[in-house]
């Protein structure tokens, strides 16, 4: 696949072999013990805590960039061309960017579009995945066949290529457009997983029992199948956030995503290209923040998958 992000599909393939749902115990009991066990296991891991702290910091930066900027550096939004490209110094830990603005402030501001993109795209894809997965897995038939073909087609379109083609012709390159495009290209992975989970569960004994007792399809789907089917999908969703952030940055870097004067890590990396040999700090700091954020999501997703996998017990 492309040399840019593939993690959602890759993670999807990894999660496509989740443990078969435990059909012996009724759902609520299973959730209590499996969830509790998972929480205990997650709590114990230092990598999880590191990831949580990092993400907490990133969220703080996205929500209130001004406060953190004033806390950590002098200068804030003041830009002076004379300071252009200067390296780190006492009052300015990240140095200055091309325009002579304080780099730390800029990098902090770059947090917001990345996090918003990552979370919005994943939330939208998750919603689509749950609805389509439930309907297709449960009803099967022509709906399932149709949606399966459509997902096959979308899978045939490597991510960067597809995004590029769309964005080249798209008039608007704002964050909203980016979210739309990324969702359109990313809904397939989680939908496939959800669908296969639903198919496996729809045949479960407790679902059949509920059906015999007269439960209507909507109730069956929402109360009985959904809570059990959703766990591997949630794990993939967590991994997906990291992948979307990475993908969005890549598109910005290639010049097909957000445009100046928007601020994002991808754009900062794009600007830093030409000066990487003489002024490595221009590349280093946004790269660090970007990698740390993606890494945190992936670590959390990995840890969640291990914690929820009953086979590893």
């Amino acid at each position: 696949m492309t040399d840019t992000t593939r993690a959602p599909e890759a993670a999807g393939e990894a999660a496509e072999h989740p443990a078969p749902p435990d059909t012996v115990r009724p759902p609520s009991q299973e959730r209590a013990s499996l969830g509790k066990d998972a929480w205990l296991e997650l709590r114990a891991r230092p990598t999880v805590w590191a990831a949580v702290v990092t993400l907490f910091l990133m969220t703080a930066m996205a929500l209130a960039p001004g406060i953190l900027t004033s806390l950590l550096t002098e200068g804030g939004d003041h830009c002076d061309l004379a300071d252009s490209k200067l390296g780190p110094s006492a009052g300015h830990p990240f140095g200055f960017d091309l325009q002579g603005c304080d780099y730390l402030a800029q990098v902090i501001r770059g947090t917001r579009p990345s996090l918003i993109a990552g979370l919005a795209v994943t939330a939208a894809s998750l919603l689509i995945a749950v609805v389509l997965g439930l309907l297709c897995g449960f009803y099967g038939g022509w709906l399932d066949a149709l949606v399966s073909r459509v997902t096959d087609v979308f899978f045939g379109l490597p991510f960067v290529l597809g995004a590029t083609v769309i964005l080249v012709a798209f008039p608007d390159h704002g964050l909203g457009a980016m979210i739309l495009v990324l969702t359109v290209l990313g809904w397939t992975t989680m939908t496939r997983i959800m669908r296969s989970q639903v198919i496996a569960l729809a045949d479960a004994d407790y679902v059949r029992a509920a059906r015999m007792l007269g439960a209507r399809p909507a109730r069956l789907m929402v109360r009985h199948i959904l809570p059990n089917a959703i766990t591997p999908v949630i794990v993939v969703a967590m991994l997906n956030v990291g992948a979307v952030i990475s993908g969005e940055a890549t598109l910005d870097f290639l010049g097909v995503g957000l445009q100046y004067p928007e601020v994002s890590w991808g754009l900062q990396l794009n600007a830093a290209q030409a000066f990487v040999l003489d002024h490595p700090h221009l590349l280093f700091f946004p790269a660090l923040f970007l990698s740390a954020t993606v890494l945190s999501f992936i670590l959390l997703g990995d840890a969640a998958r291990d914690a929820f996998d009953p086979r590893l017990k």
């Binding site: 492309t2 040399d3 080249v168 990487v276 790269a287």
Partner: protein, 308 residues
């Protein structure tokens, strides 16, 4: 066996059609004037606009337009640039470079990735396993262009081990560093996949049976678990080949390799719509064909699929 092949081919056809249709639709049927959109910010005189409209049959109904597009594809016509050059000519010399890069990256993924994965899988829980796990997670998280620049900086400039850019040194030296960078994500993924697949198979019942037959640990791992463990990995690697070629954009850019990806990148920057569409279509077709081949290979490896 042949029924299996026929079925897979039949399955692939609608996907091929669907994907090309999707690309076509996305570019030509989006709201707004597609010709203006393709031209981007460049001012285009009305006469040229009218001529382009005629050439792209934009006044015809959608299905006719798509049919023209498709028949064009079948004859190898990937479209024409605004200056009248055929896209397929533009790309002619570049395929070789991309192929060399893609193959190098693929071979690195296969050898290094599987070796790392097997080693980590056999040493599960020990510190070298943790190192591999953490290292691969790190590589997966750091975006490729960052890895590319860092590699170029460290190995090319500071250490001087490998050429920094360009194809002067020829194959393989000019392609080792970019190949490694291009392979990085896939390598990390292959290592992890091999590892987890091996661990899972080592726990399987038939491994216990193999031990009960008095076979040495080495034979159990090599003869009984490796082949089973490699099935998902081979599937991934097969998909990789097409995909690596389909998108070495960033790598070719960083290392200044005159391949298809570099052309695509430049066309994106210059907003040359037809080139972008034509190149993308070609790459996607390669990707899909590679997928098909992998599907068939999978059937060869796993007898259970064959007899489906």
């Amino acid at each position: 066996m042949w029924r299996f092949v026929a079925r897979r081919l039949l399955h692939a056809l609608p996907v091929l059609l669907g994907t090309t249709f999707l690309i076509y639709t996305l570019v030509f049927v989006l709201p707004g004037d597609p010709i203006q959109g393709l031209a981007g910010d460049k001012p285009v005189p009305p006469a040229v606009l009218a001529e382009l409209r005629a050439r792209y049959h934009l006044d015809d109904p959608l299905w006719i337009q798509y049919t023209h597009y498709l028949t064009g594809l079948l004859t190898g016509d990937l479209g024409t640039t605004f200056t009248g050059r055929r896209v397929s000519d533009l790309l002619a010399d570049r395929w070789v470079v991309t192929l060399q890069l893609g193959l190098t990256a693929w071979v690195l993924e296969v050898i290094l990735g599987m070796a790392l994965g097997v080693w980590a899988g056999l040493r599960k829980g020990k510190w070298d396993d943790s190192v591999v796990l953490f290292g691969t997670t790190l590589v997966i998280s750091v975006p490729v262009f960052v890895v590319g620049y860092m590699a170029q900086l460290v190995f090319g400039v500071q250490l001087g081990w490998l050429p920094v850019a360009g194809t002067e040194e020829g194959w393989p030296f000019a392609f080792l560093l970019p190949g490694l960078v291009l392979a990085s994500f896939g390598l990390a993924y292959v290592a992890r996949l091999t590892r987890s697949s091996l661990i899972e198979n080592l726990r399987a019942d038939y491994v216990r049976t193999a031990h009960s037959k008095g076979l040495s640990r080495r034979r159990v791992v090599v003869r009984h678990t490796l082949r089973n463990s490699l099935i998902p990995v081979v599937t991934f690697l097969g998909l990789e080949l097409g995909g690596l070629m389909a998108g070495a954009i960033v790598t070719e850019y960083i290392f200044n390799l005159p391949g298809v990806g570099q052309q695509l990148f430049q066309s994106i920057q210059l907003r040359e719509g037809p080139v972008v569409v034509g190149t993308t279509t070609a790459l996607v077709l390669i990707f899909l064909l590679a997928n098909l081949l992998v599907d068939l290979l999978y059937g060869l490896l796993d007898p259970r699929i064959r007899h489906d």
